[in-house]
Symmetry: none
Subunit: 199 residues, 4 copies
DNA sequence: TATGAATGAGTATTCATTCAT
DNA sequence: GATGAATGAATACTCATTCAT
């Protein structure tokens, strides 16, 4: 597969078409119910062309899932740090709240990333040379800001990771399954927990 | 399909064979790579017989996943409460530790339940009339023991749920993906978090 | 299989249940979509019992199809010959009209017998010793009444048969398929043809 | 699926292979006893290729049944109208006779089209834009030639349709079931009826 | 780079029938 | 006669991927 910068404008266009077609169909019908055939039809591209741009169906999915994760995280982070007031914990909760609200409005995105989320994938992309400095920066910044006694940076990163994971898990079960309660009911408890952890 | 108590001894036996065959193969090869054919072959039973006992492949999977969850939880809870010393938090952490150790030894079980876990399914079974009082009791007992200021029982249950979810999530990513760190490295941080939440 | 007169009252009852269940389900869902399982469930009878009364699924179907044919024909014939006025042709057309009206109201019966009608079956039953004298009598009577020059009884029977077949065929295509026209539109043309043939 | 005219020569060839394989096997073993598997094996084509050319098994059957109907009708019509002598009725009977003789020699074709004949299918194909003008022309010509007092063109078409249906029905029961008599015995009576109807 | 015809492995499920009890 | 658990053969259809053009 070619890397992005080698692609001509026309190729960029085809690639983008495939991504948008995949995103639409995966979100609409799920992974199992979306065939490569449907994707190329929607992207107005020949069957074989798909494999010129993506190694296989999973590769396309991974890219889409990553894009969703990335944009949701970045958007929430930026909004939280654009706030003029608020301490670290308040900003963190504001960020989580934004993420929750996003998924509450787009539950299909949540369903897709939750069932197919792959942390190694995320990690790999973040640490690829020169790639996604932005996202790396966000995670570092969150870890550095954390004030817990006798904690080093790696441990801080783990705390952030654990907390975010918990939020995503709860999002999924509360929004998708309404279990153990709906999201709005869960929110105060969740924020109480976060305050205890980060405080 | 028949309910469990209507089954004769011979039928119980066949059913048990199917469950064990399914468990073995699902754990060994995953859901997608396990055919009904393989299951009945291993269970020494005719193809049609499978559908006498389970509505479809998913029904079998659900039962297996539920059984795993249940037994892991109960075992850990019992061990923790058999301790003579220790306060609530200590027992809770002991319980989580037991769960983690279980899955560290049987990562395939973890992979299976994480990809196919359905909380509504669990909920449904727990609350069915007269069914699984034991598991219900465990969850209630954990919630009741929780001492956080100004918290009611439902909120307490949510805290328990959130905490357990976080543990399961971390188990999955640390044990299966070794991300963001391996399980042993994550443990102290996790227990620190738990202490902060429950304390 | 047992013949009818050997059956006890209880057995008659079971047999009748199976017939009614089969009739209902065949008419409702068609042959392919009706399983023996569904039939025995509806008849409140064990699976094996079915095969005590009918050699197989087809045997049940044949009996049902025969019953429908028989009763429709007899009913129409009797009504036509109960008329006080009218010559042979008029009565014949009256009879056909009654059959058509019957099937217009019960198109599922028409679909069932048309797809699964077996003339040899009918013949076999009619000519079985002492069996269905009534139906034989009807066909004979229709043939004998026919006045066409230089025609013998066998030929007369063939004319009757051909005419009835044509009516059934047209019923099927006009009522079920609305082709080449609907039944009401076809009727005058059909009766014109009958008059030409029998006149 | 592609329409016929879009197919390359190679594809035409594969399609033809599938049609011939289907025809052979359907005629030899009937619809139920012919698997798609057997068809593709005989056509020397991969399983998936079948579904490139036909939507499903039924679609293939429909095409075959239509082809048989079409060719038998056209052949008979042409032979009848190639006659130098004979009035309308004589030609019509000649045509029917040709059809009967055809099916007498190929009873399996008769069995296949009779059980699976779908007049709407025929109609649909005939009336598709620019499609099968030839067959339409035949039916129109037969209807126009009919001389019955006070009859309009639509009614004439219905008479033709009813007559042809009767012939096909009798073919089926006389040739396949030998009921109510064999075909040769039935012929004179049938032609007598036709003369009465068309005369 | 782009195409799209061809491939063929892969599988869940149904159901008529039997037979031990 | 009655049961109903057990059988296992039988089959249409999908779809990711390839490769000749």
């Amino acid at each position: 597969m070619l890397t992005r910068r080698e692609l001509s404008a026309k190729m960029q266009y085809k690639r983008a078409n495939l991504l948008e077609a995949g995103r639409y169909l995966f979100l609409e019908n799920g992974l199992q119910n979306t065939s490569v055939d449907a994707i190329v039809r929607r992207a107005n591209v020949a069957k074989g062309t798909f494999y010129l741009y993506f190694h296989d169906k999973d590769a396309l999915l991974n890219e889409i899932v990553y894009d969703i994760n990335r944009s949701v995280l970045l958007k929430a982070y930026r909004k939280a740090y654009a706030l003029e007031t608020g301490d670290y914990t308040a900003r963190f909760i504001y960020m989580i709240d934004d993420i929750i609200n996003h998924f509450a409005e787009k539950p299909r995105e949540l369903a897709l990333i939750r069932k197919n989320f792959s942390w190694p994938l995320l990690k790999e992309r973040i640490t690829s040379v020169g790639e996604d400095l932005e996202l790396t920066e966000v995670l570092n910044s969150l870890a550095k800001g954390l004030c817990i006694e006798d904690i080093n940076l790696d441990e801080a990163k783990n705390v952030i990771y654990a907390t975010v994971e918990m939020c995503f898990s709860l999002c999924y079960s509360c929004i998708i399954n309404k279990q153990p309660s709906d999201m709005e009911t869960m929110k105060p408890t969740l924020y109480l927990i976060i305050r205890k952890v980060l405080g």
